[in-house]
Amino acid sequence: MSSVLLKMEGISKGFPGVQALSKIQLELRAGETLALVGENGAGKSTLMKVLTGIYQRDEGKIIYQGNEIEVPNTKAAQDLGISMIHQELNLAQDLTVAQNIFIGREPRKGFGLFLDEKELNQKAQALFERIQVKLDPKEYVSELSVAKQQMVEIAKALSFNSKVLIMDEPTAALTDSEIDTLFEIIKKLKADGVGIVYISHRMEELKRITDRITVMRDGEYIGTVDTKETTIDNIISMMVGRQIYNTTSPIVDSGNNEVVLDVKNLNRGKKLIDINFQLKKGEILGFAGLMGAGRTEVARAIFGADPIDSGEIYINGELVNIKSPSDAVNHGIGYLSEDRKRFGLLVNMDVKSNIAIASMKDFRSSTGFTKENKVKIIAQEMVDKLKVKTPTIDQEIRLLSGGNQQKVVIGKWLTRDSDILIFDEPTRGIDVGAKGEIYKLLNQLASQGKSIIMISSELPEVIRMSHRVIVMCEGRITGELTAENTSQEAIMTYATQREEISR
């Protein structure tokens, strides 16, 4: 064991305005899991993209199985046995699960002229059985939730039987049970001698499955440590180079505050059944549940993003008619979507426009001109406040790292200054330091009298942050827990309380 499989030395890569990597090194051994950690924008994804031929390095060497190699494109990487699960979903939405997994490697029949769809689906099914995930090969990817799409990505990367497997935040969209499945898979792969590079912002995972940890900061190599011989605190201080915000939050009692949002008998097909709950002023209300429980659906329904079949929504005691997101925003509701690429970002616009877009009324003169200066000032404030890593506020947002994009989207809703904020997976893909910042921010907002719904699949986060927790299962609310009696076990009990006798 532990022969060196891959070595990257002195890797540098610059983009216009950003030196993403400077003289980075990395060593991966066969049969180990190497964690690659660092704050948002540290250069983790970029380094891996250099390795898989998506970007070309400016300088440095890659030594793979003892030979120096060039990786001109992804195909070359695959042929070498290096594959990657990308941080951003990279699936063809209009193809099925199986078609996506075997794209470029379709089984053929009839002298290689025709596709063998049957064989394709069988191969996919066999793969799913081997790695124990529940996916239907014939389902269209566009019909899948983010979490399931992530599983498809994972299955696809595994199907290559690679010697080096890179996972860029594979668990960001997964719930605990799926994470367990993934970790089982990782253990098996390790036993087969596969080297895994594992990128994650979830510190508790590192202890569970990694052997060594390489830390990066601001595009530079900080060091590599053995997981067993180090503490999370040590890693965090290597990552950020400073003290971070203490996450224990003083929970202010909001139990007797007035109700700002009252949702009554909300129904939407089979996805939402009789949703009833109340949100109080200054409260952080957690929404927990398994993947596909319908939490996102609730948020979208309240926000007017999807039409509802029936139900009433009261804001500050008044019945409101929300037909579209613009109605919702006018009633003081803001919604941070879980899928930022599809629903959150104006991809080729700059940071400041992304921050301003929900609040254009405030940035508009009476004649319809934009108050460009005001936009700049507010955007700069937001970027400073949230510590967004970007060269300027004029940078196109697609060029920011994933976590920094998330911060900008949060900044959009903070700028809008809504009274009710729905955060759907707000810390997805965000580094520990920034997570702390966001927790601090949520608490601040609550103490300023804002009401917050926080949907999250990270149970510790839900438990730590929420004043109350609502648990959903299969489109119903199955339980409500107060801060005192919330525990992982209690949440899981409700989250799996399926409706069995409804026909």
Partner: protein, 318 residues
């Protein structure tokens, strides 16, 4: 209304209902409409635009567009005339070369799009102009007649099944539709067509040689253009060098009416066939009703909106 169709594919093609409604309407409005010879006439007049539309369907599913098909078709007609009439090649050889010339034109568009990274709209607009000019230059701005090869006009207008007065052009349209369907649904080419339109970047990251497949797909679309060109020449028994401009919009309209999305990733061949039929039933029906010509375009415009809107409503309900 109960339709005599059970196939899942057909039910997806929502435009089908609009076609039925149109046919019913015109049949009731004029006894001359639902006559064998008129229906054959409609099918015949659908054939050329229909075949162009089949080819364009591939390109549109990749998320591209092909504005060159109209004039490229004309250039193929002219080249067929050059091969057969000017150079005296045997008719079958001339026909095959004419069709391959279409594939070659598609290949060039594909090259511009894939290798030079020129947006499809601009690349094919340029090819449209180049083809238009070349058709005039090569033909000497005069029609090329196939006077010495009477068999040539039989390609479109002969009848392969004796006693059944259905011209070959209709069968050729049918064959090309089936060919298009097979390529799109059953082969790797079709798979990559959808994959490119769905998420080109993801396809590339999966190690697919995106450029090569794009060129192949444009070449196949060009093959259809070539067939349309030969058919057009055969039907007119001459290569008309000034024809073709504007056909690209008709073809694209047929594709989109048939439910193929211009943003790529979605589409069917049967949809395109139905879209093309809607267009020609409409034109023919209005002519049969002797609607004044200036009103015809107005009505066609309105019907297109309504047909597509009806689909959208049905899709929303579904």
């Amino acid at each position: 209304m109960r339709l005599p169709i059970r196939s899942g594919a057909l039910q997806q093609v929502l435009a089908f209902a609009s076609l039925i409604v149109l046919i019913l309407f015109f049949s009731l409005a004029s006894p001359n409409f639902f006559q064998f010879s008129n229906i054959v006439g409609i099918l015949l007049s659908t054939s050329v635009i229909g075949i162009l539309a089949l080819g364009v369907t591939f390109v549109i599913i990749t998320g591209g567009i092909d504005l060159s098909v109209g004039t490229a078709m004309t250039l193929c007609s002219v080249m067929t005339g050059v091969f057969i009439t000017f150079w005296g090649f045997p008719t079958p050889l001339g026909v095959v070369l004419g069709i391959l010339f279409g594939a070659f034109a598609g290949f060039l568009s594909g090259l511009a799009v894939a290798k030079m990274k020129i947006p499809p709209f601009i690349a094919t607009l340029a090819v449209m102009m180049i083809a238009k000019g070349l058709a005039l230059v090569i033909s000497g701005t005069k029609p090329i007649y196939f006077s010495d090869t009477p068999e040539f006009s039989q390609i479109a207008l002969g009848t392969i099944i004796p006693g059944l007065a259905i011209p070959n052009a209709v069968w050729i349209f049918l064959i090309m539709a089936i060919f298009g369907y097979i390529v799109l649904s059953k082969t790797v080419i079709g798979r990559y067509t959808f994959a490119l339109g769905s998420n080109e970047e993801a396809t590339r990251l999966s190690g697919v040689n995106v450029n090569r497949w794009k060129i192949i797909i444009y070449s196949i679309a060009g093959l259809f253009t070539g067939v349309a060109g030969v058919l057009m020449a055969s039907r007119l028994n001459s290569a008309q060098p000034a024809l073709g401009l504007g056909y690209e919009l008709e073809a694209i309209a047929a594709v989109v009416i048939g439910g193929t999305s211009l943003s790529g990733g979605k589409g069917t061949m049967i949809g395109t066939v139905i879209g093309a039929l809607i267009m020609s039933v409409l034109t023919n029906g209005l002519r049969i009703l002797s609607v004044p010509q200036e009103w015809q375009t107005v009505v066609v415009g309105i019907v297109i909106i309504l047909a597509v809107y009806a689909d959208i409503l049905r899709r929303q309900k579904a």
